[in-house]
Symmetry: C2
DNA sequence: CTGAAAGCGCTTACAG
DNA sequence: CTGAAAGCGCTTACAG
């Protein structure tokens, strides 16, 4: 591999100690009062030898790697892919790099990723928490490892997070449906005790109750590992039984599955069924008619997560918990 | 941060040297003939102290980081997101981790990512090369840095790659269009000298020529940084001038932009215009009618890329260059 | 102004 | 069977 040149090579060439070289190359020449001619010679030698520092060695010595560990549900899901991109760009501005891992909403996988990243000495974590991983996050807290949760948080867990006001988002969406004359609004969500899911269904229930529609409340909860089939079933049944005249989906993936089913059973939107989806997606634009959906300010949220994390890395900080407002993108799927 | 426990802590506790501990924990107790009782004591101490090795220290010492540098155009693009996921999973099987970076098809950004990753001592690279970055890749070759290109390659560059048979894919697609009775097939591609683009347009030209349709050949090349607007223009013009009765798009992103334009101008598919897209995408399924498209065996390609890379990391290997066959997913957008 | 030396946490060739 | 020691490539407290 031709051996990269090291500090020592430069030191030898110029005839000084590695300490001097390190100082100069790190811009400490003034502070350490290195002679300007010497400094110049060192810099010249560095470029001549094409020197570039070994970050592993530096990390070992400094005890810091300038690396963020990012754990999300699935990088192949465009929602998380976009998030990863935003985080990548923001981190790069501060000379941080990110290593990622997909948990598939599985707590064990998530734990193993945390372990791996810890061994790699990441400076902090940005995590989309899976169900049941409270202990895992608490342990990170005990280690005083900088951490910010994103997309979801655990109630009562004293840590930083950046999330959507999920309650408000769905509340707003359901109100919109009702204002368009729908009475039997159904909701399709995940079987999950994670707050973001509970908040979304709570927003739904409240909105329904607010209009005296308690009796029409109907939350269909599906399993993460068989979304496609279960949602297919649910939509089929809703349609056959004329059980609902509107449906709101609690996540992007659920929406997509729902659209496949609606297409399959040839359900007329919005005539037979009004529909509201979650998070933007190109597919929503091509569905006929274009879907009304709840939009998260992903860009801001991703950037904020990095900002908060770097804050925490800098030093013990106050806990920061941020809730962002959604935007309801109204199109023609609600009548 | 409560200090992670180190080899030395274990050594002290048990009263042996760190060497012994290292041997035992790395399963070399047999080879180094460590006494079985001692080995047990060491292992017990390790679990008692909750020991977990510092990979940075190990990396510095071993000169290897078990890290793959992945450079792709944009992780937010689902095509690359899926690829990243496949690579992540395959790498994890062999205890490798991946750090990623998005180049935006920009050679300078790509070069800077290569630099960063090199300083981080990655063991090898998987790169989706940008236009004009030959020198950058050659320099990696000179350093004997393990490298495999994916999605595209540079002709004449002696390195490993895993790509689609792009020529064959488009050739097949255009033939299908012609077999459905279309005569004026247009192609929308990127302005790019990268082979994968050239191969795709070559496949188009050959198929047209093969049916005596040389005079109808029309390749529209758009700029990566203004895809949406340019494609909009092109589609509008094709439609207004009745210039073509079919169009094939050269990438996923181009297809999406094309669909937006087709929708905007209310063009009837396939009556007025038959359409073939590139790479699967949920949006293709909801477009009306569902799109016929060229499918890449992404899963196999991603896995193969990792396999080849790890081969190269293991030791100097023969160069491996693989071309995969596409699959034409036929639906109703071609008549 | 400049440099020798210690040390980050490991692995491994070497010696006994 | 076991361990002392060197060394990976840096940074930094310390001494002069």
């Amino acid at each position: 591999m031709g051996k990269k040149t090291s500090l020592k090579d430069i030191a030898n060439k110029v005839g000084v100690s590695t300490a001097l070289v390190s100082y100069v190359l790190n811009g400490l020449e003034k502070e350490k009062r290195v002679g300007p001619e010497l400094a110049l010679k060192i810099k010249e030698a560095a470029t001549a030898l094409n020197y570039t520092p070994n970050q592993i060695a530096r990390s070992l010595r400094k005890g810091t790697t300038n690396t963020i560990g990012l754990i999300l549900a699935d990088i192949a899901n465009p929602f998380f892919g976009q998030l990863a991109r935003i985080i990548e760009d923001e981190a790069a501005k501060f000379n941080y790099i990110v290593i990622y891992g997909s948990s598939d909403e599985n707590c064990l996988k998530s734990a193993s990723l945390v372990e791996t990243f810890l061994d790699r000495q990441v400076d902090g974590f940005i995590i989309v928490p899976s169900e049941g991983c409270r202990e895992q996050l608490e342990s990170l807290g005990r280690k005083e490892m900088p951490l910010v949760l994103i997309d979801r948080y655990l109630p009562g867990l004293a840590t930083n997070y950046v999330v959507l006001d999920n309650y408000g988002a769905v509340y707003d969406a359901v109100n919109h449906l009702i204002s368009m004359g729908r009475k039997n609004v159904a909701m399709v969500a995940y079987k999950s005790s994670l707050v973001h899911m509970e908040e979304r269904t709570r927003g739904y229930r409240q909105a329904m109750a607010g209009h005296g529609l308690e009796n029409s409340i109907s939350v269909h909860a599906v399993d993460y590992y068989s979304v496609r089939e279960e949602v297919d079933q649910i939509i089929n049944q809703i349609h056959d039984d004329r059980e609902a005249d509107a449906v709101v989906f609690a996540t992007n993936a659920l929406t997509i599955s729902g659209l496949y089913a609606i297409q399959k059973y040839n359900i007329k939107v919005p005539e037979e069924l009004a529909v509201i989806g979650f998070d933007g997606n190109e597919a929503f634009d091509f569905f006929n008619p274009p879907l009304t959906y709840i939009r998260q300010p992903l860009e801001e949220m991703g950037r904020e997560a990095v900002r908060v994390l770097l804050d925490q890395i800098k030093g013990p900080q106050k806990i920061q918990q941020m809730k962002y407002k959604h935007q309801l993108i109204k199109r023609s799927s609600c009548g």
